[in-house]
């Protein structure tokens, strides 16, 4: 039923598109709704061609009314549909945050279990393309604060392809954050099937230090791990994948073995999800730690346009390497 075949070259963008196409074919309750998903083909060309296949009812362009169409997704989900709402980018999701927090995440509990909200919201997140202060946020950590939601951050082709279906099968609202820098990532798809959305994944085994990252930062972290390896430090790289609920076992399990941890997050440091990961590691593996948990985060500044300033504002592999070295060296 899927059109992407294992082993073929595919981009992250195409993987997301195939996931949507596949879900739309499988279940006629599924529809895609958002700004410019149809005629335009999606702001990042994710949904290109889907309008032609599924028509304007199920590939539904919306006006610029984030609160209304996200809320409409919640309402449609309440009525038994399986909407995929696309918010063009996380920056605009603030306009719909009230709906997400006060309705999507809350109605199940507030109604004493009567109404669940089987909704998927996808949005692009992150910086790195010189889009300046209002178009470069990484706010998924805020969403990961909200009980009632599940938060996913696909960083690989398989996750881009495989997370959507289980998200749609989840009876509760799921938010999927796609980092803008990943759409052009391409390679062979190992599998076109649904993936586990409960667990973090070890993307690179290692023994000396655990590097924890997700989304756009995973690839910089893997690059850093390569550099560290050349310097004789074997880093284990964990892709968090699911930001809520966090997979404590995988995280803590790794740190118990390596005794050192570095959390990498593109978001601003103070109050980012990096803080939560760090706090949990300390809470759960304090006596196994040989060094304080390090964080490598975005500088606390509205993301600047100029390339050199933006680069300085974002975590770079060198910063990760330096933090890992500090953790390893602090072996008291």
């Amino acid at each position: 039923m899927t059109t992407a075949v294992k082993g073929e070259q595919i981009s992250y963008r195409e993987a997301v598109r195939e996931a949507i196409r596949d879900a739309m074919r499988r279940d006629d309750r599924v529809f895609l709704m958002g700004e410019d998903v149809g005629r335009y083909g999606g702001c990042f060309a994710v949904s290109l061609g889907l309008l032609e296949e599924f028509g304007p009812d199920r590939i539904r362009d919306t006006p610029l009314s984030e609160s209304a169409f996200v809320g409409a997704g919640i309402g449609a989900a309440l009525a038994g549909m399986r909407p995929i709402v696309e918010i063009m980018t996380v920056n605009f999701s603030l306009l719909a945050l009230d709906q997400i927090l006060n309705n999507a995440a809350t109605i199940l509990h507030m109604s004493g279990g009567q109404f669940n909200v089987p909704l998927v919201i996808r949005m692009t997140t992150g910086a790195g393309r010189q889009l300046a202060a209002q178009h470069s946020h990484s706010l998924e950590g805020w969403y990961a604060h909200i009980p009632g939601l599940r938060i996913l951050a696909p960083a690989t082709l398989e996750d881009a392809r495989g997370m959507l279906w289980p998200a749609l099968e989840d009876p509760d609202p799921v938010l999927i954050f796609e980092h803008g820098s990943l759409y052009n990532l391409s390679g062979e798809l190992d599998s076109t099937g649904p993936v586990d959305i409960d667990h973090a994944a070890v993307r690179r085994p290692g023994r000396d230090v655990t590097l924890l990252a997700y989304g756009g930062m995973l690839h910089k972290t893997l690059a850093a791990a390569e550099q560290l390896s050349e310097a004789g430090v074997e880093a284990e790289v964990i892709d968090l994948r699911t930001l809520r609920p966090l997979d404590d076992e995988t995280i803590t399990g790794s740190v118990r073995r390596t005794h050192r941890a570095v959390v990498v997050d593109e978001a601003w440091r103070s109050g980012g999800i990096s803080a939560e990961v760090s706090a949990r590691i300390t809470e759960q593996a304090f006596y196994d730690l040989d060094a304080p948990v390090e964080r490598v985060c975005g500088a606390e500044v509205p993301t600047p346009y100029a390339k050199h300033l933006e680069e300085a504002a974002l975590p770079q592999p060198a910063d990760i390497v330096a933090a890992a070295c500090r953790a390893v060296d602090s072996d008291a």
Binding site: S65, A68, A72, A76, N102, L108, G112, P147
Partner: protein, 370 residues
């Protein structure tokens, strides 16, 4: 599943219709308000309406006592004075239709058919309440009745209603979603976004604006540059009327017409019900912002008294019948209170139940102490 906008009716309000519904013009006959049913049946129909309104009023009067007795806590917003709106509009809906409303929803819940027991127990915070005690006065829900709850964010229910109606539209169901909100919500951005979406997509949505002239302490004319809400609504390209919200027969008639139009593809309709709340905004409100005389003026047009007077005049109501009605209502409410008082509490261990539909595979709060 197709969306033909051509079928949309475009009966926009004119300045003509604007004045014809003005409160001053209350002598306007609404005899044809009830579904045409001669003699006995018409009388019975009116008695039902009267009974519903009295039941809602009495229920809330008891709530005030129970609030003073600290049996009910938190925010509680009374509907007293506005009963004709809920009763009239709900009559136009079928069990398949959906309702979305606000924190001021006791009347809607009762008129929709939720039991006094389940509502009272909810306000008592008992597990026997409709929302298992998690919601309280502001968050009454009933899946069986497609009652999608009281929403306590002003304007927050409108997008949900758009989505419920969208689902019906996509599936080709001839169902109506009725969305209640106040005059205060008209200022919120969501109002604007939702009216446009509903009109643009020709959704089967009935907007029910309860214009009681105040949003907390802010009078409508200090919140809106243009205070004719129905006229404003019509600018979105949907059918819109203002209706005397103190006249249950007028409300019922207008709602029935609008709901049928909505149900059969006529696109979204908007009703502005001009009404008034007699009581303060909530139990916390000292009500300093309006003239007591204004309240009294409105009470002179009380929807319950007005209907009762009319029925008496037409020989449809006797003192005995009224007393019997009230007695029955009082008994029902007594039983609800007793049941609420006897209701069990949700065990504290179940606090996090329903945060997710199934117990999450891993506890999201799972910090272990070492």
């Amino acid at each position: 599943m197709t969306e033909k906008r051509g079928t949309r009716t475009t009966r926009k309000r004119t300045s003509q219709s604007r004045t014809s519904v003005a409160r001053t013009n209350r002598s306007h006959s609404t005899d044809n308000a009830a579904p045409t049913a001669p003699g006995h049946e018409a009388a019975k129909h009116r008695a039902d309406l009267l009974r519903e309104m009295r039941r809602i009023r009495r229920f809330e009067e008891r709530c005030v006592e129970l609030y003073s007795a600290a049996k009910i806590r938190g925010f509680m917003h009374l509907y007293i004075g506005e009963e004709a709106v809920a009763v009239g509009v709900m009559r136009a809906l079928t069990p398949d239709d959906a309702v979305v409303t606000t924190y001021r929803e006791h009347g809607h819940a009762l008129a929709r058919g939720m039991s006094e027991e389940s509502i009272m127990a909810e306000m008592y915070g008992r597990v026997t309440g409709c929302s298992r005690g998690r919601g309280g006065s502001m968050h009454l829900f009933d899946a069986g009745l497609r009652f999608y709850g009281g929403n306590a964010i002003v304007g927050g229910g409108l997008p949900l209603a758009v989505g419920l109606a969208l689902a019906d539209r996509m599936r080709g169901e001839n169902r109506v979603t009725a969305c209640f909100f106040g005059d205060g919500a008209v200022a919120e951005g969501e109002f604007h976004e939702c009216l446009n979406l509903a009109a643009l997509w020709n959704l089967p949505l009935l907007f029910v604006c309860e214009n009681n002239l105040y949003a907390m302490g802010t009078a409508l004319n200090r919140a809106q540059a243009e205070t004719d809400i129905a006229l404003r609504a019509s600018s979105y390209g949907l059918a819109s009327w203002a209706v005397d919200g103190m006249d249950v027969l007028a409300v019922e008639q207008a709602a029935a017409r609008a709901a049928e139009a909505v149900r059969w593809g006529g696109g979204p309709h908007f009703l502005e019900l001009r009404t008034y709340r007699y009581r303060a905004h909530s139990m916390y409100d000292p009500d300093r912002y309006r003239d007591k005389a204004e309240i009294e003026r409105w009470k002179a047009h009380d929807p319950i008294d007005a209907l009762a007077a009319r029925m008496r005049a037409e020989g449809q109501l006797t003192d005995d019948a009224l007393a019997a009605m009230d007695k029955q209502i009082a008994d029902e409410i007594d039983r609800a209170i007793e049941a609420a008082d006897a209701g069990a509490w949700e065990p504290v261990e179940d606090l996090t139940r329903f945060v997710y539909s199934a117990p999450p595979t891993k506890a999201p709060t799972g910090a272990m102490s070492s």
